[in-house]
Structure formats: C-alpha cells, structure tokens
C-alpha cells in the first residue's frame, strides 16, 4: 500500500503544480509535497528494517533494505533541495521561475524527476527500473536549461543526448540479462524481476551475463558519471540552477549506482567467481578517480569543481563496490556521506555565488567573513568532501582502504590514495582562496534567507562531523543489511 502511495505522491504533486496559479505557492508546494514523500519513505524504510522487505503489484513493486536506504536518501535530499530552492529562486536575477507559467513548469518537472527516481528504487522489475532511469533523464533535462540561455542549453543537450545514448546501452544489457534468465528457464515478466533473477542466477549462461553486465556498467555508468562517460556531468552540474545541481549530484548519481548494485549479485552468482565483475568496477572506479583528479586541478568554476568531485566520489563508490562485501558497506556509507556533503557544498556554493555575482573561484575571496553561514559552510563542505577528519567521508574512505587491503588490492589502493591526494591538493587551494583573504567590495546582500535553511546547513555539517566520529548502531545495521543484498545473501 505504502509503495503505491510512494509512487502516487509525486504524480499527484506534479499535477497539483500545474493547477496552482501563483509562483510562490508552487515553491511552497514543492516543499510540502516532498516532505510528504519523505515521511512516507522513512515510514516505509523503517518498516522494511523492522519487518523485512515488502512488495506490491504482483511483485513488480518492492522495497528491500537496499532500496529503502536509497529511497530515504533520495527523498530527504529532495526535501532539503526544495527548501533551498525557495530561498535560492527568490534571489534576483537568478530566478528562472520568474513568471507563474515557468514556475508551474518547474514544479511539475521537479515532481516528475522525483517520481522517476522513486520509480527506479521501487520497481522490482529491472526492465521497469530501466524505464524509470531513462525517464529521469527526460524529466530533468528541462530543469537544467530552465534559464534557457546558451550555456545551459548546450549543457542540457549534451546531458540529454549522452545520457540517452548511454542508458539505451543499459537497456541492451538488460536484454542480455533477460536472455540469460530465459536460458535459465524463467519466463514472462518474472524473468526480469530482480528477486527471481537473483534466485536463479546460478543457472544463467555466464557469457550472456558478462556481456550484459558490461553493457549495464557502461550504460548506467554514463548516468553515474564514470569516466570516460562522465563528460556530460560537469556541464550539467555547473549550468543547472543550484537546487537541481544538488539533486543531480546528491541523489541522481546514486540512483544509477543503485541500478548497478542490483546486477552485482547476479553476475557473481552466474560467473561463479566474484572477481570478474569486481575487476570491471575497480577499473572504472579508478579511471574515474584519476580523471577527476586531473580535471579538478584546472577548474575555475566552483560548481564545475564540485561536479568533478562528484565524478571522483562516484569513482570511490565504484571502487568500494569492486572490493567485495566489506567494500559494499563502505560504498553505501560513502554514498550517504557524499550525498549529504555534496548537497551541502552545492547549497553553499550557490548562495556564495549569488552573493558575489560570479562562480569564478578566482573572483571569490573572503567568503567566510562576507557571508558567514554560506562561506563557512562552503569551506567546511569542501574540507569534508576532500576527506578531512573528523568527517564521515574520511571514515568511509578509510573503510574502503581497509577493504582494499583485506582483499589484497594494494595497487588499487595506491592509485586510490594518489587520486584522493591530488584532489585534496587541487581542491584545497581554491577552497582556501574562496574562504579567506580580502573580500572584494561589491558583494551583494542575499535575499530570501531563511533560518530554516541556515539551520539545515549547520545541521548537515554537524551530521557529517558527528558521523565521522560516531556511527549510530542503527545506521551500521542499515549498511550491513543493505550490503548483504548486494552480496547476494
């Protein structure tokens, strides 16, 4: 029942948006709608962890520990972004929703985007999961270019075409998996249901599964932003309005990672050895980290910098997924940390950018004194993001290193740490420059500041620092149980 509600709320939200006359009301409604969805997701998540996985609609909809974790994360970040959007859009001249019609369009797309991501997570059928993933692209493309200027248009087109081409390879991969499933004796819709796939993965034709998995990794990897398929990511992240960038980086990439997670146990079971799939993931993860590290060094635009940092962190998560069960826990933990931290970073970068009227990092300096909350938040977020302790990301990176050493992947860990170190040095320099130093004279005052949003910034920072030093037992259990699903247990 709750699964139906989860699917229905965004649809209803989108429809309601189209009916609301005033733009302020739309901006308010997206907060309410996503709050409802968040509450539902959390209730469903708690239910899953208490009682066990749930399903509906003949097993097409399902929620287990892995998807419940992602679902809560998606809706939570969405809610934060909705709150943030209200303040952000009220700052002229950055308001893409300046008239009511635009606002309605924004609201409807915002909810469709949420809906499609929720769809990715609650469909048990990997085919429908693919369909939802494809529709995230379609729903969000217009969100990028809601400004409709040349740069955002260019970014949106690249996003649309690259992600579509990539995702369609994911479909082909799904077809191969289906073929393998049929070869193992399954038939009909069940042959694509994840639970069934896992249960008879052992009988599948390994060659088909291998081809399918490569296609899936490349396909969904495009959406994750794994190098060398990441090319759309910095463009889209930097050109989209900041709330959209935050959602992109904070959860959209996670959804794509989630899709790959679903196929990991199948590959492991059908090939008989977990090493083959892990090797591919390790390769992609490392390449992404290295590419991101190299590009972080030459960035001028703060949002672009954050985008490359996302590529790096997605690489880290992929490396974690390539390291086996201990790595799965670390990867999931890292997913949570990266989402919160990157969202925080985008929030702060967006506001600081509004205040200085530029996103060029060389023109921003002294932001800690110019706009204390956002400037300090940006500094804190970047420091946490590049792995300063006491931060959750430091801890999850440590867990990945440990998993790597336990698995004997010393070379991988060496590359991993080298890339992390380069990113650290490369991102720290602009972070220091932006945070400290003299403030240039014309720094605009920020409008639409809300105490709630400032509270969110403080809370997110505190959360990241806290979980860097102390993980609640419940949270550990969440990661471990979700990781067991990826491990196919």
């Amino acid at each position: 029942m709750i699964l139906w509600a989860l699917a229905a709320v965004p649809m209803a939200g989108a429809l309601v948006c189209l009916l609301i006359p005033r733009r302020q009301a739309v901006l308010g409604w997206i907060i309410i709608g996503s709050a409802i969805e968040t509450v539902l997701a959390v209730i469903a998540g708690v239910g899953v962890y208490r009682v066990g996985s749930m399903d509906a609609c003949l097993g097409h909809l399902a929620l287990d520990e892995l998807s419940a974790f992602h679902l809560s994360l998606v809706t939570g970040i969405f809610l934060l972004s909705s709150i943030y959007a209200r303040g952000y859009f009220n700052q002229e001249p950055f308001d893409p929703t300046r008239d009511d019609r635009q606002a309605r369009k924004f609201g409807a797309l915002w909810f469709s985007f949420l809906g499609s991501m929720v769809g990715v997570l609650i469909f048990n059928n990997v085919g429908l999961m693919w369909v939802s993933m494809e529709s995230t692209t379609l729903a969000s493309a217009f969100l990028i270019c809601i400004h409709a200027d040349r740069l955002s248009m260019e970014a949106a087109w690249k996003y649309l075409i690259i992600c579509s081409a990539g995702i369609v390879l994911g479909l082909l991969g799904t077809v191969f998996i289906y073929g393998a499933s049929v070869s193992a004796g399954a038939a009909g819709e069940e042959a694509l249901c994840w639970t069934d796939l896992v249960s008879h993965a052992g009988q599948m034709n390994p060659s088909l599964v291998k081809i399918g998995f490569v296609l899936i990794v490349v396909g969904y990897g495009t959406k994750i932003g794994l190098a060398p398929m990441h090319t759309w990511l910095p463009d889209a992240h930097s050109q989209a309005p900041t709330p959209v960038s935050a959602v992109f980086s904070g959860v959209l990439l996670n959804c794509a990672t989630y899709c790959i997670c679903r196929f990991i146990p199948i590959v492991a079971a059908s090939t008989g050895t977990p090493d083959w799939g892990r090797r591919i993931l390790l390769g992609f993860g490392l390449v992404s980290m290295v590419v991101a590290a190299v590009f972080v060094l030459v960035q001028r635009d703060v949002k672009r910098l954050l985008a490359y940092s996302s590529v790096e962190h997605m690489g880290i998560i992929t490396v974690g997924l390539g390291l086996g069960p201990a790595g799965y826990v670390a990867a999931l933990y890292h997913t949570l940390n990266h989402s919160v931290c990157k969202t925080l970073a985008f929030f702060c970068a967006g506001r600081v950018g509004q205040s200085y009227g530029t996103r060029n990092m060389e023109s921003i300096s002294g932001s800690v004194s110019a706009c204390p909350v956002w400037g300090s938040g940006l500094l804190a977020a970047i420091l946490l993001l590049i792995g300063c302790a006491p931060g959750a990301i430091f801890m999850s990176e440590f867990m990945i290193v440990r998993a790597g050493i336990a698995g004997g992947h010393l070379a991988v860990i060496a590359g991993f740490l080298a890339a992390v170190a380069i990113v650290f040095c490369g991102a720290l320099r602009p972070a220091i420059h932006m945070a400290f130093g003299d403030t240039p004279e014309p720094v605009g005052a920020l409008r639409g500041e809300s105490t709630v949003m400032r509270g969110c910034v403080v809370a997110m920072t505190a959360w990241l620092i806290l979980t860097g030093m102390w993980i609640p037992a419940g949270l550990t259990a969440v990661f471990q149980r979700a990781a067991r699903l990826i491990a196919g247990m």
């Binding site: 087109w157 690249k158 075409i161 690259i162 081409a165 990539g166 390879l169 060659s207 291998k210 081809i211 998995f213 490569v214 296609l215 990794v217 490349v218 495009t222 060398p228 398929m229 090319t231 910095p234 083959w276 090797r279 591919i280 190299v294 590009f295 060094l297 030459v298 420091l383 792995g387 300063c388 302790a389 006491p390 430091f394 801890m395 990176e397 440590f398 867990m399 290193v401 440990r402 790597g404 050493i405 336990a406 740490l417 170190a421 380069i422 650290f424 040095c425 720290l428 320099r429 220091i432 420059h433 400290f436 130093g437 003299d438 030093m469 102390w470 993980i471 609640p472 037992a473 550990t476």
Partner: protein, 657 residues
Amino acid sequence: MTPFLICLGLWTLGGVVGLCGGKRILPVSASAAVAGSVLGLLTAAKVLATGDGVAFHAGWQMPYGEFHLALDPLSAVFLVPILVLCALAAVYGVGYLKDRDSRQIGGAVFFFHLLVVSMCVVVTAKNAILFLLVWEIMALVSFFLVMLDSRRVEVRRAGWIYLASAHIGTAFLLVLFAWMGYTAGNFDFDAWQNLSQIGTRTASVWFILALIGFGTKAGFWPFHVWLPEAHPAVPSHVSAVMSGVMIKTGIYGLIRVVALLGPPPAWWGMTLLCIGLISGILGVLFALAQHDIKRLLAYHSVENIGIIALGMGGGLLGMSYGMEEAALFGWAGALLHVINHALFKGLLFMGAGSVQHATGSRDIEKLGGLLKKMPVTGSTFLIGSAAISGLPPLNGFVSEFLIYVCYFKLALGGPLFTGAAAAFAIAGLALIGGLAAACFTKVFGVVFLGEPRTDVSSHASPFSLTTPMALLAASCILIGVFPSAAVRGLTVEALKAIGLGLSPADVGLLSLTSILTRLNLCIGILIALLIFITLIRAWIISRRRISQTVTWDCGYSAPTSRMQYTAGSFVQHFIDLFHLFLQPRERRQNPIGYFPKKASYESHSADLATRRIFEPLFEWIQDLAEKIQWIQQGRVQTYLLYIFVTLAAVLSFQAFR
C-alpha cells in the same frame, strides 16, 4: 586516569570559554589550561615513576573503533613536554594576544586548546581509528591556527602547503593502520603486540609507510617543506607548541609502530641515520641562510628532528646488532632530545614572539641591541640558544651526548659498514653542532646585541610573556645540570616500553647511570668554576678603575649602527661554502671605485626540497592536467564516441574471456 580525563576536559573547557569570551576571558582560559596541565602532569609523573600504565575504555560506535586511552611510560614521555609547554604557551598567549581583535582571539584560543587536547589524545590513543581521527583533527585545528592571519597571501599559501602535506602524510598512515589492523584482526594497539611475529618483508613495508607518514608530521627531509611555511604564520606561542611538541607526535607514532614490529633489520637504522643526517645538516644550513627569525627557528626544528632521528637510528642499529648498550643510549638520547627540544624551542619561539610583539618585526636585519631594552627576553633567549646548540651545561648537550655515545659505541663494536656509518653520524653531529652554534650566535648577536640597526621602537615584555620563558629557561638549566636525574626520571621506564627488554639491573642501564653520574659531576664542577670565577672577577673588578667608552672604532670618526656586521654578512662564508645546497639568490652590488657611493649584498635561499622536488613535481602534474584537458574539448559527438569506444574496448577485453 581520571585526572588525565579532567585535564582534557579543562583544556576543552578553556577553549570553549575562550571562543565565547574573547579578550577579557583570556586569563580564565589560561588558568583552566594550567590547572588541567598540572593534573595531567601528576598522572604522567606517576606513570613515569612506577612504570605502570593506566587505561580508559569507553564504548564508541565506530566500525572497528573503540575509545581506548591509555597512559603508558612511552606516552607519558611525550605527554610531559606537551603539557608543560602548552600550559606555559597558554599563559604566554594571554599577554601575546591581548592586542588583537576579539574575533581573532576567540579563534586563536579555541583552536589552540583543541590542538592541545588532540595532541594529548594522539599520544595516549590506543586504538588505531581513534588515533587516525585525532591525528587528522590535530592537523585540521592547526590549519585553522595557521589561517588566523589569512589576509596575507603567504599565509594562505602556508595553510595550503601545511594541510596538503599533513593529509598526504595521513594517507600513508591510513594504509599502514588499515593493513596492520587487518593483519591483527583488531584495531586496538594492545592487540597488535603479536604483530612482531610478522615477517621482515611486511614489517619493512610497514616501516616505510610509517616513516613517510609520521615523517611528514615530524618534518624529516624532504617532507619538512611545510615547517618553514607554517611556523612563521601562526602566533608565536602556537609556533612554540607546533614546533616544540606537535611535530614530536610524528616521532611518537614512529616509535610506537617500530616498537610493535619486532626485531629491526639493520637497514631501518641506516635509513633513519641517513634521514637524520640529511635533515640535521640541511636543516641547520637553511636556518643559517634565513633572515626571518621564526622561519629560521622552523628550520632548526628540522635540524633537531634530524638529531632525534639519528638517536632513533642508532637505537635501531644497536637493537639489530644486539648491542643493547648502544641501543639504550640511542633511544634515551632520542627521547630526552624530544623533551629538550620542546623546552628550548618553545623558549626560543616565545622569545621571537616577544621580539615581534615589542618591535613588530621578525626580520633580524632590522633589529639589534634589544638585550638592553628586553633583559629577560634576551637572557632567556641566550639560554635557549646555547641549549639548542648543544652546549654544556645545558640540556641540549645531554641528549646529544647520549646520541654521541651511542654512535661511538656502535663504531667501537659494530661491523665495518656500521662503523663507517656511525663515523659519519659522529662527524655529522659535530658539524651540526658547530653550524647550530654559528647560527645562534648570529641570531642572538644580531637581534639582541650591538646597537639597533633601524629605527624600531621596543619595550620590555609584559610579565605574562616573560614568566613562561623564564620557567622554560630554568628547566633547560635544570636538565642540563642534573642530567642523571633527568634521564632516569624521564626516560628509563619508557625505554623499557620500547621493547628493549631491560631489567633495572641490566648492564646497559647500569652503564647509562654510571656515565650520567660522572657527567653530572663534571658539569657540577663546571658550574662551580663558573660561579667561583665570576665571584673572583667581580671582586677584582670592584677594586679597579672602570671607565665607559665607545667601542674600538679603528680610527673611524663617525661609526654608525648601520656599520655593524649584519646577519647576511655573518653567514656569507657559510653560504659560499655550502653553495651547492643553499643555491642562494644573491643580489650583490660591489663597491666600485675609490669612493663608492653604494654597495649592497643580499641573499635568499628558497627551500631546496620545495624548489627542486615539490615545485617541479606539482608543475609537472599541473601541466599534464592542462594538456589532458583536450579530451574534454566540448564536442558532444566526441563524447559519444568515448562511450562507444569504451564499450567496445571493455566488451572485447573482458566479456569474451
């Protein structure tokens, strides 16, 4: 253990109070700090006296983590200088920070107190995760201390270099601890005792990881590059702490890990010996070439870390050749030098801070004649200078003496190669000592003696600045005059903890004690002579006619204070001599003609490692990054091609295998 926890609590409290309170609350924070330190010192003293550690466990939900603190003798040896110096620095800070604006004071006090707490936890943490966490916190809070004066570009650069190098160092520790923890199946240091059974190969890899990871913090050459940048950037009492004790946490970590690794192969000792020699000699050479007093002192930290590394190297060599006596001397020297360096380097940085506070300048070429205006600062600085140059009867000599004895014993009993290495160490130590003495003659002579070189105003330092310096100077003298008691009281229990396996009746320990007793006698006689001859001289002088006059001016009629020997000219011989390493950028305008109008000489030596290793490396990476940018030149068709080519490549290499 409770007093120690209260100590941590008091320090934290002082920091938080300082953050909220600002200027007027400074004495409160300092009092909390002093009270806390006294409590902590009592605990540490008990541990050092009895050799029995105390421990504290608390449940802590962190994967593989547990909040486990323990104070064993080795921790206590490091805790003592930390608490002593930090308490004094806190007192010093009261007077030093007073003139700054409230916000800066809040930050300075808060981060300083956090730094102290994190250092205390680092040396007592018994869980690898806890250790790593606090290790990083330590780096981060000191980064914020560096950034206090962030309006200046060079400070921001210093902050970047500092945090980046600290973090890269931590990366090695991350691997080290993850590996050791995985092998031991646990992240508790107590559970790592059985790691000494691991083979030499793995242990050697761990040793190298520890060497780089901890060496970056300690400031081993060439990982020292952050020291001369960061230390001048922070307020002086913080420089005192960073240079005096924070870098020692690196030494602590290295000793802790090495003690776990089982019998060391000879090349570990050799490596540390080489590092020690290089750090020591290059550190002091670059110190000689500096004109910024705090930068100079920072390079001296590299030198002293080199001396400590020499001691540790000697200790390891002694252990690997089964020469327990030599090992004992080496380790004792290293440990004592850790404490000594904290005392005199803290003293010197505080002195430099007082000078800066009084004159507003750190450029020694601009100063002069300050001893008359600032008698206490000057006199204590002199004591610090003599101590850091390793001169008897001060504390620096005692630790260097122990290290010398260690190497003499190695050279006497070791095989040819070790003997030759020990000879190098001895010659190196002698050279380092000579160069350090030269350097501090320069600093003290140019800053405090003669006449002021420029028109800088100065005034005597307030009480809160001079008291800590006087106390530190007194402790330098105390350890120097009573070396036997100092070594026995401070290091013996810790030496047992390193894994030398000593009983009190051991031959090595007996020889150490007897030598130190005799040394004590000699130094006593030296002191007695000093007092006696001073009295005699005073008696004679009091009966003679004394006149005041000008300095012998060689017949010039109007000498000015600008004609005094400058620091630059004082070290010019050294710079010419060690041109190869210093590679100074010299600006020389030689006098021309019979009546030259103008002549000048200036030299600056940028850091060798920075200039020859790290800058080219970073430039190369940056260039590479800029060249690689072409792969993302903006054409969407190319991007699509990447995807398809990747797919084809992965399919053909992986899927059909």
